[in-house]
């Protein structure tokens, strides 16, 4: 090597200097620092924009509960929903579904523009059209029906809410000339039938749970969506809260250990479907031990003692019937509830007045038959708990101004004379008002579906299929791409409740009148519109008396017009709230309606605070709640006898009758399970709720049904195994999860899964349990009966 000194020194200086220079320069340090900064601000991680925070009130419309909510806004973004502490229904409590409602509002399954279907229903393609086109198209279809002389073939299925928009739909059908306005059956509808039969009233039932001390719940999932969820939660929160005040005991009579059963003071496991026998046996103990309200029964009831009819014939009364047939010992054999337990419960029920007996399984909509609910309700009468604090009330009317009468032309009159296509009010179902699950699809030409999903949620699957196979033209008014929209011919994007004007009367089961009014908290996303506004436009397009029946420019005008009734009644209060811009802080004072100087002031306060209520107005007089011809509570329903002409006395009185035996080979009983985290009425479930599901409810896309470990053992099945669950109506593929809280022989299948529409977070997860429930129609009320179905289970 020949390196001279100069070269060497140069080389060294260069290399050393260079290295040192780079190390001393900030370059490498800046580089690693900036790389780290970059990872902290990755452009693909969203950065929520800051903004001015504010709070606004609204009404939750996820279900019909009508809970009040506070919505936190950041500029025009809605970021959070809390319960409204001042709202009379929920007093701050809110269910997870309500808390996650923003995920539906902003979710990917929203309908965005009016869509017209091209191609067959099985394999639809959707073409965006303008609102003008859509409205013209609907008007054209209606016009064609009318031109063909078949205006009665226009039908509508809408949700069960008491709202002005629903009145608009009814009105629209009326003006066109059709009676076929159908609301999905609400959870407490069967109870109204019971009231009609035993108390002769048409109003909904109301329970004064806040003042009761003892709830005898026959399978009501009080904490899983029964009634207004927020209200039940609030009641649960206060069960033992008040020192010296009312503490509320809940006795849960249910075959399986539900959430309510596990939170109840006492869980009484019962053989499925025998609730009526147990209720009557409790009545037996109350009567035989003299624990019932003798004054009330003597003065205000009919058919308790044996009685003579107008022909002078001797008839057996409720007392003889119950004492004769429902002794705890004999009922023990039916219900498998020990006789001493029956006696204990009856004594507790009598001792802890005011006590309520509640019926209606799951969310209240499931029952074995009207007689079962009558048997349960007769306990309330024996306790004399009608129109008493802590007892049974009626839902009060909200003093809204009624809309002007519908104008009908000749065609409309002709159409309106033709009976309904769902059989409600007919000779077969004289007590029913809406029977969408009994719709004769062949008699419908144009169907409007509004905010419901019958394709998914109608308990009668044959009818559900027929509707979408046989009806030539279906319009879906929907905020979401649900199963029914996917099979419709025209999808009209409807604003969600947080983007629109809407109202809601009568929270379920609440004894005093409540009116909820909601206003848009944000401008409608996308091109969605208020269904009421769309109907007004369609009516205008149709012209004539139909347009005259809708004299308003938009829905708000009608709402305002109706609210004038509240102001004029001069009763009730509005909780006027002032928000401060931090969490929690909110002060509200009830302002009496009387104190508003003008209607305009009242209206502004109502819009801002969303709720009018009148806690003073309850049906606390017996004459308000007992409207049978004799002004008495009827253990023997004369209306039932009159309507159906029953010859057998038993058919007019609460009684238990043994269900028919299971078909050959079906040795299990499949029962539906309500999960508070899943919307089971066909609405979508937001992703954050699906996150809450345990992985023994849903694993990847497999739904789990629950069985007792002993059942699994007898069937030769292991926990987690894939099985076929079959009923006479169909079969589904599920996996099993063994849980000791399920009664032997019972398979518990959760509702709300198996969607084929909506977004990727919900679609194709599990199976729709309704596919295997073979809904029967209750002979008396016409309502769907599907509390259980015989089944079998075997390995795949």
């Amino acid at each position: 090597m020949n390196v001279d000194r100069r070269t060497f020194v140069k080389g060294m200086a260069l290399a050393g200097g260079g290295a040192l220079g780079i190390m001393l320069s900030p370059t490498p340090w800046y580089l690693i620092r900036d790389l780290a900064f970059w990872t902290q601000n990755w452009p693909w991680v969203p950065a929520p924009a800051p903004g001015e925070p504010s709070f606004e009130k609204s009404i939750c419309r996820i279900c019909d509960g009508g809970c009040g909510i506070n919505v936190r806004k950041v500029d025009m973004r809605l970021v959070r929903i809390d319960g409204d502490k001042e709202h009379p229904v929920n007093q701050g409590s809110i269910c997870p579904m309500g808390a996650a409602a923003l995920q539906m509002l902003y979710g990917p399954s929203r309908t965005k523009v009016p869509l017209r279907r091209v191609g067959p229903r099985e394999n639809p393609e959707w073409r965006p059209i303008t609102w003008a086109e859509a409205i013209r198209e609907v008007a054209l279809k209606v016009r064609q029906l009318r031109a063909a002389g078949r205006p009665h073939e226009l039908a509508c299925i809408t949700n069960s809410a008491h709202s002005t928009v629903n009145q608009f739909f009814e009105r629209f059908l009326h003006a066109v000339g059709s009676r076929n306005f159908m609301q999905m059956n609400s959870a407490l509808e069967a109870h109204s039938t019971v009231l009609a039969l035993m108390q002769g009233v048409d109003e909904g039932i109301a329970y004064d749970i806040e003042n009761a001390r003892y709830l005898l719940s026959f399978g009501c999932n009080l904490l899983e969506g029964w009634g207004a969820c927020g209200r039940m939660y609030h009641a649960h929160a206060n069960r033992s809260a008040h020192e010296g005040g009312n503490s509320l005991e809940i006795v849960q009579i249910e075959p399986n250990l539900s959430v309510t059963a596990s939170k109840a003071s006492r869980w009484i496991p019962i053989k499925p479907g025998t609730d009526a026998a147990l209720a009557l046996s409790i009545a037996h103990v109350l009567i035989s031990d003299g624990l019932y309200d003798k004054t009330f029964v003597e003065r205000h009831t009919f058919g308790f003692e044996d009685w003579k009819d107008s022909d002078g014939k001797r008839r057996r009364g409720f007392k003889s019937e119950v004492l004769g047939r429902y002794s705890p010992r004999s009922v023990e054999l039916i219900t498998q509830v020990p006789a001493n337990v029956i006696e204990e419960v009856a004594h507790e029920f009598a001792a802890n007045q005011p006590a309520l007996a509640l019926g209606g399984r799951c969310d209240g909509s499931l029952f074995a038959g009207i007689y079962e609910l009558m048997a349960i309700h007769s306990l309330n009468a024996l306790a004399g708990n009608l129109s008493r604090p802590g007892g049974i009330f009626l839902q009060c009317d909200v003093p809204l101004k009624s809309l002007s009468p519908v104008k009908m032309d000749e065609q409309a009159e002709q159409g309106f004379a033709i009976p309904r296509s769902d059989g409600a009010g007919s000779k077969e179902h004289p007590l029913a008002r809406h029977l969408p699950h009994n719709l004769d699809a062949g008699k419908v030409g144009v169907l409007l579906i509004h905010e419901v999903n019958p394709s998914y949620a109608l308990p009668n699957r044959k009818v559900a299929r027929a509707i979408f196979e046989d009806i030539p033209y279906i319009v879906s008014f929907s905020s979401f791409i649900d199963e029914s929209s996917m099979q419709a011919d025209l999808i009209l994007p409807i604003s969600t409740p947080l983007e629109r004007w809407d109202d809601h009367t009568g929270a379920p089961g609440i004894p005093y009148p409540i009116y909820g009014l909601s206003h848009p908290l944000v401008n409608p996303l996308y091109e969605s519109r208020n269904a009421g506004d769309v109907l007004i436009e369609i009516a205008r397009e149709l012209g004539g008396t139909i347009a005259e029946s809708f004299p308003w420019n938009n829905t708000v005008e009608a709402l305002r017009e109706r609210a004038a009734g509240l102001y004029e009644s001069g009763t009730g209060v509005i909780h006027t709230a002032e928000f401060s811009a931090t969490y929690m802080s909110q002060t509200a004072t009830p302002t009496e309606v009387k104190s508003f100087p003008t209607f305009s002031d009242f209206w502004n306060a109502l819009v801002k605070n969303c709720c009018w209520s009148d806690p003073q107005c309850t049906t606390d007089q017996l004459e308000q709640t007992l409207k049978t011809p004799g002004k008495k509570f009827e253990f023997f329903s004369q209306r039932l006898q009159k309507t159906f002409g029953y010859s057998n006395d038993l058919e007019c009185m609460p009684h238990y009758h043994e269900p028919p035996p299971n078909p050959q080979g079906f040795d299990l009983l499949i029962m539906p399970e309500n999960l508070i985290t899943m919307a089971d009425n066909g609405l979508g479930t937001p992703p954050l709720l699906i996150k809450q599901l345990s992985n023994d409810v849903l694993s990847e896309n497999d739904l789990f049904v629950q069985v007792n470990p002993i059942t699994a053992m007898y069937q030769g099945l292991k926990d987690g195994e894939s099985v076929i669950l079959e009923s006479p109506a169909g079969k589904v593929r599920v996996r099993i999860h063994t849980f000791a809280g399920v009664r032997e022989g019972v398979v518990l299948i959760p509702l709300g899964f198996g969607h084929t529409a909506y977004d990727r977070f919900l679609r194709n997860k599990g199976v729709n349990a309704l596919e295997i429930f073979d809904a029967k129609m209750d002979t008396v009320s016409g309502l769907a009966v599907w509390w259980a179905v015989p089944g079998k289970i075997y390995k795949v």
Binding site: V3, R5, F8
Partner: protein, 74 residues
């Protein structure tokens, strides 16, 4: 690593840990600097010697210190 860093709190743990750490780092670096300096000096010395040898007109004669390299080559 440096006391100037955000949220830095001195406690005994830091003193011990960083004391030992810096001791190690200093030990390593002083050794390296020593090696580097010594090597440069060695080379420099070689070159000086060779230049002197060149100056004394014995250009082909390899210097003692580079013996090994020559052996390795062979």
């Amino acid at each position: 690593m440096l006391p100037t860093t955000f949220e830095f709190r001195w406690d005994a743990g830091h003193m011990i840990f960083f004391g030992v750490f810096y001791a190690v780092v200093i030990a390593i670096f002083t050794s390296l600097v020593y090696v580097a300096v010594k090597s440069i000096i060695d080379v420099y010395r070689d070159m000086t010697a060779r230049n002197e040898a060149n100056a004394s007109e014995h250009p082909e004669h390899p210097h003692e210190a580079t013996n090994e390299a020559v052996i390795a080559k062979s």
